[in-house]
């Protein structure tokens, strides 16, 4: 992971604080913030993708078998997916 901002020396900083590489925020795992986590019931899931489209952290993704699941590295446990699921296939459980 790139260093935290306070460990940089001024010589190492780019001119104008340009970040030359895109999408480096991925290296910071926001999954540590989570206190509840979503669990998919694949018997109820109709693969509509509402959990995917409403995830503000891009943490829900489609597996090879077309069902959805969350990426534990980034899911913050906000429970939007479970509230918006039309078939109530997602439940939020305590803990990571």
């Amino acid at each position: 992971m790139t260093k935290p901002a306070d460990q940089f020396k001024w010589q190492e900083l780019t001119v104008g604080f340009v970040i030359p590489e895109p999408g480096t925020a991925r290296e910071y795992h926001t999954g540590d913030w989570r206190s509840t986590h979503p669990v998919w019931d694949e018997k109820k899931c109709i693969k509509c993708g509402r959990c995917w489209v409403f995830c503000p952290d891009m943490a829900v993704f489609q597996k090879a078998d077309q069902y959805f699941t969350m990426n534990p590295d980034y899911c913050k446990g906000c429970s939007i997916c479970s509230r918006e699921c039309p078939t109530e296939a997602i439940t939020m459980l305590e803990g990571k």
């Binding site: 790139t2 480096t24 925020a25 109709i46 993708g49 891009m58 980034y74 509230r83 039309p86």
Partner: protein
């Protein structure tokens, strides 16, 4: 019969131009709005963004959540920088230093950066007619610095600089009607959207990108932290804001108004206020006053849409 609308989200592009790992609060509907807007803008775009929640959460110095060129500018000049980028690219293409191709320029700001601090720069950019989009993410206060009131804060909302107490009941002025101000500039495209309706938001930003000339999209983005609601309810409250007409969805295409969400029977505003901590102090009289004003504004808007259809 399968409800095809239910499967509509799968039609959106899978590519994420706003990546995971941004530091927005849990359940931030503004981050969701940025994500959908980026999907609609596509890879060939440049974003100039004013200071605000999204700038803070997406680019803490060594990292960035953006996959497209992104410029952080001061609070007041997102629209000025976006218009400068547009003019610069036009000049470079004219001189043959860059190949001719369509590059979408987007200015983005929160409600403070649009309705309060950035208003004159935005008004200037719209008046000069640059081919750009301006997207306002309206979470109805300065959430980034700790929920201070802005001119987009609705009447009665309690914020840290308009607190509800024994004497006063929260914000005492009405929400500034930013889309109307933009429509008054006579620009080709103005729309209001909400991240609770992602397909609608996607379509509107896509349309704004294709329009020649300036376009403005005002996106209501629910803020669970500032509105004092549970993080999972952000989408539900966005939908309620639209269904109660607290935030009607409409488009203005070349001066022609068109409602994109119209329900013959609106829900009462109490449905929207219920459960929101920032409105918990409101008395029934205050709610009745707000309801009256919202109904009147909505009837006005509906009349504008009907006049066009005649």
């Amino acid at each position: 019969m399968i409800n095809l609308d239910l499967y509509a989200p799968l039609m959106l592009p899978k590519e994420e131009l706003f990546t995971s790992g941004h530091r927005a609060c849990q359940g931030c509907a503004e981050a969701l709005a940025v994500r959908i807007v980026c999907k609609a803008l596509g890879r060939n775009s440049i974003v100039a963004m004013a200071t605000g929640c999204m700038e803070i959460v997406s680019s803490p110095l060594p990292t960035t959540a953006w996959q497209i060129p992104w410029i952080h500018v001061a609070f007041e000049n997102a629209a000025a920088v976006a218009s400068g980028v547009e003019s610069g690219l036009k000049a470079l293409m004219r001189k043959g230093r860059l190949p001719h191709k369509k590059i979408t320029i987007a200015g983005m700001a929160g409600d403070g950066g649009t309705a309060d601090i950035g208003l004159q720069a935005l008004s200037g950019a719209m008046e000069r007619g640059h081919d750009m989009i301006f997207v306002c993410y309206d979470n109805e206060a300065y959430m980034n610095t700790g929920i201070q009131r802005s001119s987009a804060t609705p009447f009665g909302a309690s914020t840290t600089t308009s607190p509800a107490g024994k004497v006063k009941a929260g914000q005492e002025t009405w929400k500034k009607n930013m889309p109307e101000i933009m429509a008054a500039h006579g620009i080709p495209y103005v729309a209001t959207a909400c991240s609770a309706y992602p397909i609608d938001l996607y379509e509107k930003v896509k349309r704004a990108a294709l329009v020649k000339g300036p376009a403005y999209v005002h996106c209501l983005s629910v803020c669970p932290t500032g509105w004092r609601i549970p993080s999972g309810d952000a989408i539900r409250y966005g939908r309620l804001a639209v269904e109660t007409a607290a935030f009607p969805l409409y488009e203005v295409i070349d001066g022609k108004y068109q409602l994109t969400f119209d329900s013959p029977k609106l829900k009462p505003i109490t449905d929207y206020f219920k459960g929101q901590g920032r409105f918990r102090h409101l008395t029934p009289e205050a709610v009745a006053r707000i309801q009256e004003r919202i109904t009147r504004d909505y009837e006005k808007l509906r009349a504008k849409c009907e006049n066009v259809n005649k």
